[in-house]
Amino acid sequence: MVKEIEKAGIPVVQMCNLIPVATTVGANKIVPTISIPYPLGDPDTPKEQQWKLRYHRVGVALDALTVDVDEQTVFKVKI
């Protein structure tokens, strides 16, 4: 699906845990998530902490939409 969106000229960032899957599939901009069953918020942590993590990583994804890259890029996250 990522490829179809990108083919149409719409920049897309894939947020996923299995980076190798995304790179194999051909996603160009990738932001890592923390796990598969809970990509953006660990249920064993307090709600506030989950929010902070989600806010940060989605923020990285939004910024990634504005960045010019010339090859598949995995964007780094801080938390």
Partner: protein
């Protein structure tokens, strides 16, 4: 059983390059190579269609339409084109007409051409193309291979894999029980022993080449941009109104999020069977981060949040279906002039 054969102007004896504009015609009975085909096929070749390679190349739509018209109302169980050897325009013509006939009449279609023929790359996925010789000197051999396979198809006999039957793989992988009954354990250990010794071996799962998509131009101003959320994590409203499947999905849904601030447990859930659903059901925002997107919208970090999020399920879903769903979703995104997408996967 009846068959119809397609050949070009040269093999019909009409002429060479100078006659390549020959308009399509259908003749009763046999012409040129169809004599050979008729003698080898267990079906009667009732008609031969002749068309100039240039005509087909330059007026493809018309040519195909005319030929399909010829075939209306005719009885035929199989359609054969060529063999085209290395003749590029002829190979492309054979591929084109075979594909069209298959789509319209749903009969088995066969053709043959040399591996160098551009028609191979263009049509091998859609049509059974036999590996043919380089020149017309191989005519009888190439026709024979097609006829033998054609006979199997017509009598409903079991068909072997591409390299055994002699055609270019269509990229369709299918289960086969080995006659030798060699077990996976035996095959694996033998393959390893050969690899360790430096001997040749054949992998049963060739790693396909990656096909990359050109990178879309980045967004210039995020604060003016319209951003959409898409997910393959299967987050849907609690009653799964679009009945999206938990695996091997062929359906996707779009859900209006314009009036809510986040995805609440009990209102939304996940139907994706391939991962532990506990966390997602407890707080769907961990898969589709609507809550933070709404915050970014309030802050003015993004200009607009597209009013729907799009959802389907990623496990077991074929690439073909995922691509189709992707295209359909793209239509919706384009309509609202979405500038960028965040796609979350599980």
């Amino acid at each position: 059983m009846k068959a119809i054969h397609y050949i070009n102007q040269f093999f019909a004896g009409i002429g060479g390059e100078e006659k390549a504009d020959h308009k399509p015609e259908i003749r009763e009975g046999l012409v040129g190579p169809s004599l050979a085909l008729n003698s080898m096929l267990d079906a009667e070749v009732t008609h031969t269609i002749v068309c100039g390679d240039n005509y087909m190349g330059s007026n493809t739509e018309e040519a195909v339409s005319t030929i399909l018209g010829f075939l209306e109302g005719k009885e035929f169980d199989i359609f054969v084109a060529g063999p085209a050897f290395q003749a590029g325009r002829y190979g492309v013509a054979c591929g084109t007409i075979c594909k069209a006939v298959k789509e319209k009449f749903n009969v088995p279609v066969l053709t043959s051409m040399n591996e160098e023929n551009p028609g191979v790359e263009m049509f091998k996925r859609d049509v059974v193309i036999f590996k043919g010789g380089k020149s017309a000197a191989k005519l009888r051999d190439d026709v024979k291979v097609m006829a033998e396979y054609g006979n199997k198809v017509l009598t409903g006999k079991a068909l072997g894999p591409a390299d055994e039957e002699g055609y270019f793989s269509r990229g369709i992988r299918s289960q086969v029980w080995l006659e030798s009954e060699a077990t996976a354990a035996q095959r694996g250990v033998e393959m390893l022993i050969r690899k360790l010794k430096g001997e040749t071996y054949e992998t049963e799962l060739p790693i396909p080449k990656q096909d990359m998509v050109p990178i879309a131009p980045p967004i210039k101003d995020l604060s003016e941009a319209n951003i959409a959320l898409v997910t393959s994590g299967g987050i849907v409203p609690i009653d799964n109104p679009d009945r999206i499947q938990s695996a091997s999905a062929t359906r996707w849904g779009k859900y209006d999020i314009s009036d809510i601030e986040n995805l609440e447990s009990g209102v939304y859930k996940t139907i994706h069977a391939g991962y532990d659903p506990t966390a997602a059901d407890l707080d769907p925002d961990v898969v589709v981060p609507l809550d933070v997107m709404k915050e970014y919208l309030r802050e003015g970090r993004i200009g607009k949040l597209h009013k729907y999020f799009y959802s389907t399920v990623g496990t077991g879903t074929t690439q073909a279906e995922a691509a189709r769903m992707g295209r359909e979703i793209v239509e919706n995104l384009k309509e609202d002039k979405v500038d960028g997408v965040i796609l979350t996967s599980t």
